[in-house]
Amino acid sequence: MTTTTSVIDRLRARIGQAGPSTEAMVEAGHLKRFVEAIGDPNPRWTKEAPPTFLVALSPAAYHLEEAEEYGKGWLNGGNRFEYLEPVKVGDRITATSRVADVYEKTGSSGNLLFIIFETGYVNQDGRTVAKLRGTAIRR
């Protein structure tokens, strides 16, 4: 048990910490592959990003190696997107994620570790276009 306790302590020490920023261009070909994978034929997405595309542009979480000492695998608990400006083909988006919270819960099938990430997406004009809050779970 001491091992898992220290994993949680080490992860909690990261609350507030930002991961490396990533920069990516919104490309028409990438958008096309993304909406084809979802099966969404709306012609609007040839020029504009659909609601969940930001997660394909840059990871919505950064890799926390020590989290993998806890449990067997990852689950996605949920995602909350806030949209401030449209994201269009040709935009250059810089994403930065930080750890917002880390906690453990006891569920019906055992203990779960929750890591909450918050990601901000800023375009080439320095304007925040969207924010994402994601819940990563180790089980």
């Binding site: 994978a37 099966g39 969404d40 695998g73 608990g77 995602n79 997107f81």
Partner: protein, 130 residues
Amino acid sequence: MTVGVGDALPELVKHPTTQQLVRYAGAQGDFYEIHYDQAYAISVGLPGVILHGLLKAGFLGQLVTDWLGDRGTLKRFEVSYRGIDQPGRPYACRGRVTKVDGDQVELEVWGEDSAGNRTTVGTATVEMKG
């Protein structure tokens, strides 16, 4: 077209396949093996490969934007993944209007497996054009 509380969004039924999971993995850049490697998925206690939560969110995003069209703008979209879903089974996306406050409209959306379980639940806020 006026939007009223209780209005149902036109249902969207998806038929996810393992090929779709691989396409989505590539398009999103999420190569976690539980979405395409059957043996790996079973080794971590799953019944087999499962849909990406964000693929289900993509389905629900489509449900909302198909309904909304150019009548307004999506401002907020939140989804929680309550259960796992496997390819080869239909996945029904549904929703309804829960609140109308001026040009601000709140929606409840969800995805149901073939047994009727709401494995993904969410809400959205849209701002209708005046």
